[in-house]
């Protein structure tokens, strides 16, 4: 696995500079927050609730972009778009990719702590 496939490491280094001591807290917060959202997203997709899917995906899209996880953010964007179109058809497949991507992102981020 190449870390830069999942996280823009240069930007992450910059973020680490800015955050200083708070960087660890930020990463922990991001991971905990995302885990909770991924868990709720599984239920939402099971319930085919497009509107809720849009909201949660939108939130993940924003926060993941801020920790430089571009691919993770992109998958969230695709789910948000589906929700906005009012459908959850095919969401499960993308969701699987998103969960997988999240695992890689977590690994990369933890490497930087």
């Amino acid at each position: 696995m190449n870390p830069s496939d999942h996280v823009d490491v240069d930007s992450l280094a910059e973020l680490k500079d800015i955050m200083e001591d708070e960087f660890d807290i930020l990463i922990d917060t991001f991971i905990a927050d995302s885990e909770a959202k991924i868990a709720s997203m599984a239920e939402i997709i099971a319930a085919s609730d497009a509107e809720e899917l849009r909201k949660v995906a939108h939130s993940i899209k924003g926060s993941s972009s801020n920790v430089c996880a571009a691919q993770f953010s992109e998958l969230a964007r695709q789910l948000e778009h589906m929700g906005k179109e009012g459908t959850t058809d095919g969401a499960a497949e993308i969701f699987e990719n998103l969960k997988q991507e999240f695992t890689c992102v977590v690994a990369t981020l933890k490497n930087h702590i």
């Binding site: 200083e20 917060t29 924003g62």
Partner: protein, 582 residues
């Protein structure tokens, strides 16, 4: 969450702001808060829209970073609420958003946001935006402070004008502007628009009305009002002629006003008995007479320069006379009414005025219709006070009664001379060009309660004095006045003889005593002439109903308790009895 972070190393030259960050996403909020704090600002944080509103109320932050999509109250609604709470203060709101479509971004601005910041956050851009809005806030504060200062100055100016107006009112004579035959529209602060309306009864029973419009506005325009008012009332009540009053006002204004400041004016002398109006117009718009009988309108243009322009030797006091029957109306106005503009900047104009008369059915409602028409034209619901209009109705003297409209007129017999006598001897050089009647009338009007009778008294004095001067001292023959050519000859002789007069006297002896109901005034006028066969004259007078001469005595007899010639006819005594009003 509501944590206040203390500012870290503040960069010099940058203002420390108090910034509220509202974002429901913990990690995003953490990043933003760290960046902003590192810029040296104080940070407050909120997790949703409601919390943002609460903190805003509590802390009044300088700037707000607001996530658009949040649970409970979202960013859009929070922005609207905060904008309402801020009132006229500028609180810049920057929306935080990962929305990309134009419609969503427009929503941010529509709901009261000033800008937006996209995720992922860029430190450089964020810093630039915060600085830009800090400058905007400062600019807004400066503008507000300057506006407040302007408002304060304006308020002070108005206050000063009110004080000055109060002083003016206290000094100025109230006159009879509220007489039942006068309607007028005059702003309470008109004196500072340069407009002035004065009205006074004359001792002979008539009425003077004066409308003045000074050039300019504010204090410079108001300065001239005081002397005009003082001269007008002082002289009118003493029985001075319109020419004398105008000449005096002109002289005063010419002397005190700077070049370029003058007073456009119209003065009218209403004779209720003769049913005429004598008028002088200098620089004001045409005056109108609206005839009750046939609803016709006559227009009389200005024929003089305004007051205060020419020196007195060039000043023209020539007046004109127009018939004005009872019930006819005279209209005078400042040019404000003609210049009243509508939205298309079209003036109301003379045509607008004429239209009102043309549409009128009832002469009593012209005045109201006129004001209404101006209102409709200008489209302003509130009465615009930039113009002045006066309507004077010709009435019978009786209907006006003893209305003088003066303060303290009916005050009763408190103070003032009531029991006295005085002699006043006029010698040739005085007789030549001095009119003693105003002085004598003024003296008599000091008697409390006598003023309502001033019309009669003035008439009596005028008649006795002209008899004594013209027939007694000058030896003119009143028979001359029987024909129009003789009339002219009479007056030319009078002028010529007066001019060269070097002997003879007229002596007034006045004696006033109080009675239970009022008073008794004895007027004796004596001249140094040869006298005449007064018994014959009285007999003649009783048979005479037409003609110009000899008219005075029977008229006087109706006004007095007694008229008696004494000696060889060069003395006449009149006893005038009067009752106080109350």
């Amino acid at each position: 969450m509501n944590s206040q972070e203390s500012p870290a190393d503040v960069q010099e030259s940058d203002e420390v702001l108090r910034i509220l960050i509202a974002d429901d996403n913990d990690s995003d909020r953490l990043i933003l808060q760290t960046i902003v704090r590192k810029e040296g600002h104080t940070v407050y944080t909120a997790c949703d829209g409601q919390e943002a509103i609460d903190i805003f109320k509590e802390q009044s932050p300088d700037l707000i970073l607001l996530d658009a999509l949040m649970p409970n109250v979202d960013g859009f609604e929070a922005a609207r609420t905060i904008r309402d709470l801020a009132g006229e203060n500028l609180v810049p709101i920057i929306f935080l958003t990962s929305l990309k479509d134009a419609a969503s971004l427009a929503d941010c601005l529509d709901s009261g946001g000033h800008d937006f910041l996209s995720k992922p956050y860029n430190r450089i851009i964020l810093k630039a935006k915060i600085q830009a809005f800090a400058r905007m806030r400062k600019l807004h504060e400066t503008v507000q402070a300057q506006r407040d200062e302007i408002v304060m100055h304006h308020d002070r100016l108005l206050h000063e004008q009110e004080v000055a107006k109060k002083v003016f009112d206290n000094i100025a004579h109230p006159g009879c502007i509220d007489a039942p035959n006068i309607k007028h529209l005059l702003s309470p602060m008109a004196v500072f628009n340069g407009d002035l309306v004065l009205a006074s009864r004359k001792p002979n029973g008539g009425m003077y009305v004066f409308l003045g419009d000074f050039t300019g506005h504010g204090l410079p325009a108001a300065i001239g009002a005081m002397p005009v008012s003082e001269i007008f009332y002082g002289m009118a009540l003493k029985g001075f002629s319109m020419q004398d009053i105008l000449r005096e006002i002109n002289k005063k204004l010419k002397r005190i006003l700077p070049v370029g400041v003058f007073c456009c004016a119209c003065m009218a002398d209403l004779s209720f008995r003769k049913e005429t109006v004598e008028y002088w117009i200098g620089g004001l718009p045409d005056i109108f007479i609206y005839r009750k009988a046939n609803h016709s309108v006559e227009q009389f243009p200005s024929f003089n320069l305004p007051l205060g322009v020419l020196s007195n030797d060039k000043f023209n006091t020539e007046t004109k006379v127009a018939p004005m029957a009872h019930g006819d109306r005279l209209y005078m106005w400042s040019d404000g009414i003609l210049e009243a503009g509508n939205e298309a900047e079209e003036m109301f104009g003379e045509d607008g005025v004429k239209q009102v008369f043309a549409n009128n059915d009832d002469v009593d409602s012209v005045f109201g219709e006129l004001l209404e028409a101006v209102e409709v034209h200008t489209g302003k619901m509130e009465q615009d006070d930039d113009y002045t209009v006066v309507e004077v109705r010709q009435v019978t003297e009786e209907s006006l009664g003893e209305y003088f409209g003066e303060r303290g007129m009916s005050g009763g017999m408190v103070g003032g001379p009531i029991d006295w006598a005085i002699s006043y001897e006029l010698r040739p050089k005085t007789l030549r060009d001095f009119n003693p009647l105003p002085v004598i009338t003024h003296l008599l009007m000091e008697v409390p309660g006598l003023r309502p009778h001033s019309g009669k008294i003035y008439t009596i004095l005028a008649e006795l004095y002209s008899n004594a001067l013209e027939h007694g001292v000058l030896g003119l023959d009143s028979a001359l006045k029987g024909s129009p050519t003789g009339f002219a000859q009479y007056y030319s002789e009078r002028t010529q003889k007066l001019h060269t007069l070097d002997m003879g006297q007229v002596k007034f002896h006045l004696d006033h005593k109080p009675t239970d109901v009022g008073g008794e005034l004895s007027i004796v006028v004596e001249d140094t002439g040869p006298g005449f066969d007064w018994k014959k004259k009285l007999d003649d007078a009783e048979h005479k109903t037409e003609g110009y001469c000899g008219r005075g005595l029977p008229l006087i007899a109706t006004m007095c308790k007694s008229v008696q010639y004494l000696g060889n006819g060069n003395q006449v005594e009149v006893i005038f009895e009067w009752e106080a009003d109350h």
